[in-house]
């Protein structure tokens, strides 16, 4: 195991507001790294720093370094190639206004893959990985936006997987998905760990406990502490961590 993603003294501001305050942590290759914390604690900002979509928010300012495999993401010359290495799933399901097939093929096509057979295989594989294939295999040319919320969320996941990323960032992916499907996706993710590093932002602390190798607890823009899942839940350094993770907050 080696370090895949490293945050070194990362501070993010939106205008005057601090969104992340001096974050230091390392994410190992091919692990599930979970981030938990209450709303507005900087979790989504953390993900945006990894693929540099933070740059698209004009008021943002990032200090410190985020590196992937030792390479500072700020020094990457082709930011689009960087983003293709990182799959992103945000909490609100977004079906693009095109067919289900085109939704999944969107990223690969932008990369220049045009071979029909290759795309067919890729679409099928990604929809199977996101546990959506059985529900949509007979209507791949239906509009992605006409799917239900939970189905669109799995479509979003399939899109993220379509680039065969080395890092998969999931921000509250299960918010619109029923518990049974959530469990199926969790199984798939556990399988995907063989191939990629997974950064899992979740409000379900039990999900973090089931899946994560390491857990980080964010609160009010600060990294309170992070460590091995077992230790974080059973014997955290700070009292507040234990109370939050075990659902004993307030």
């Amino acid at each position: 195991m080696s370090v895949h993603i490293e945050f070194n003294n990362v501070t993010v501001r939106y205008g005057e507001d601090i969104a992340l305050d001096d974050i230091d942590l390392q994410i190992q290759e091919k692990e599930v790294f979970s981030i938990v914390g209450p709303a507005n604690s900087g979790k989504t900002t953390f993900l945006k720093c990894i693929n540099r979509t933070i740059d698209l928010i004009s008021s943002s300012k990032v200090d410190g370094t985020v590196s992937i495999q030792g390479e500072d993401v700020r020094r990457v010359s082709n930011v689009y190639a960087l983003r293709r290495r990182i799959g992103m799933v945000f909490p609100l399901p977004v079906g693009l206004p095109m067919s289900i097939y085109d939704n999944v093929a969107y990223g690969p096509r932008r990369m220049g893959i045009t071979d029909k057979q290759r795309l067919d295989e890729l679409v099928e594989q990604c929809l199977k990985q996101s546990v959506l294939w059985d529900e949509v295999k007979d209507r791949l040319h239906m509009l992605g936006t006409k799917l239900s919320g939970g189905q669109q969320q799995r479509l979003t996941l399939a899109r993220a997987l379509s680039l065969e990323p080395e890092i998969l960032c999931l921000d509250e992916f299960s918010i619109a998905i029923d518990p049974v499907t959530t469990m199926k996706i969790e199984e798939v993710l556990t399988g995907l760990k063989e191939k990629m590093t997974i950064v899992l932002v979740t409000n379900l602390t039990q999900q973090a406990r089931r899946m994560a190798d390491h857990v980080a607890f964010f609160n009010a823009s600060e990294l309170v502490e992070w460590g091995e899942t077992e230790k974080m839940f059973e014997n955290p350094d700070k009292e507040i961590t234990g109370r939050y993770l075990n659902g004993d907050f307030g």
Partner: protein, 306 residues
């Protein structure tokens, strides 16, 4: 439970009845104001067509004006206005749409963007007669176009560009931000995102905005007054082909709005119905263009994908 409400617990109390009455009065007053809007439209159109009815016929539309418009038809001004719309559209659409895309999709919040926005707003506030004088100075004289269809179309283009930029921005802003973010997260460039997601889902709004604005501007007299409109023109109208293409870009041309101005005020012994006929055809042309544009919008909206 009190004895009063025990008979009918859902009966409205005095306070409730007063609130409902106020609500009804407010609604009806506003409805009345809204109905007032319809009256001028019906009166104008009805009166115009009633007064014009003696001349209105296919022959009136297809025939060329004779004796300075005292006799004959309306074809040359009608086709002139049509060409004015087409040429203006071809000039202004690319610039206005591309500028609108830049401002909505790319422009950072800096002094240049603020300058552009200020220019758009200021340009929108300039009266059309001032645009006409600018057109004379810039296109007719400085660029040497002379008073011509092209110079008039350029003037209309400058006059309409702020509205077209604004219409483009609004249409683009109606595409949810989440679509763009989803594409960026997959490593799509801004242009790829615009081309594949943003434009296909906003083009209907952009096009209808452009068409509506140009047709409105083409109904105005001021911008073409000094830049190319003529009270009468000497063009060949012998064959159908000549009639369909009577003007070159550097010709002076007849247009409905200017023709109306001329027949209504400048020519003595003008029959009343010829004045109303011109106005009726002008209104009809604008209604036709607007209906086309609105139909296009309704059709494309019915195919909206989210």
């Amino acid at each position: 439970m009190s004895p009063v409400s025990s008979s009918n617990p859902f009966a409205a109390g005095g306070n409730e009845i007063r609130k409902q009455r106020t609500e009804n009065i407010a609604k009806n007053v506003m409805l009345g104001a809204a109905i007032l809007l319809i009256i001028p439209v019906l009166v104008i159109i009805g009166y115009l067509f009633y007064k014009a009815s003696p001349v209105l016929s296919w022959n009136y539309i297809w025939d060329v004006p004779r004796d300075l418009g005292r006799q004959g038809g309306i074809w040359l001004p009608l086709i002139g206005t049509f060409y004015l719309v087409i040429v203006s559209l071809m000039l202004v659409a690319p610039v206005g749409i591309l500028a609108g895309i830049y401002i909505n999709e790319y422009a950072p919040n800096n002094w240049l963007t603020r300058c552009i926005n200020m220019a758009v707003t200021s340009l929108a506030g300039v009266p059309s007669i001032v645009h006409a004088l600018f057109g004379v100075g810039a296109f007719v004289l400085t660029l040497g176009m002379g008073a011509s269809l092209l110079a008039a179309a350029c003037t209309i283009a400058v006059m309409t560009i702020p509205v077209i930029v604004t219409a483009t921005r609004e249409a683009l802003a109606a595409v949810p931000m989440a679509f763009r973010e989803a594409c960026w997260n997959m490593g799509a460039t801004k242009w790829q995102t615009i081309r594949t997601i943003v434009l296909p889902n906003s083009i209907s709004g952009i096009l209808t905005g452009v068409i509506l604005e140009i047709s409105r501007a083409a109904g105005e007299t001021a911008p073409i007054l000094f830049t190319g409109a003529a009270a009468s023109v000497a063009v060949r109208t012998a064959t159908v082909g000549d009639k369909l293409m009577p003007y070159q870009l550097d010709d002076r041309f007849m247009a409905l709005s200017y023709h109306l101005h001329v027949v209504a005020e400048k020519i003595s012994g003008m029959p009343q119905e010829m004045k109303y006929g011109t106005a009726a055809v002008l209104i009809a042309l604008i209604v036709v263009i607007n209906s086309f544009s609105i139909t296009l919008r309704l059709y494309l909206r019915s195919r909206k994908k989210w």
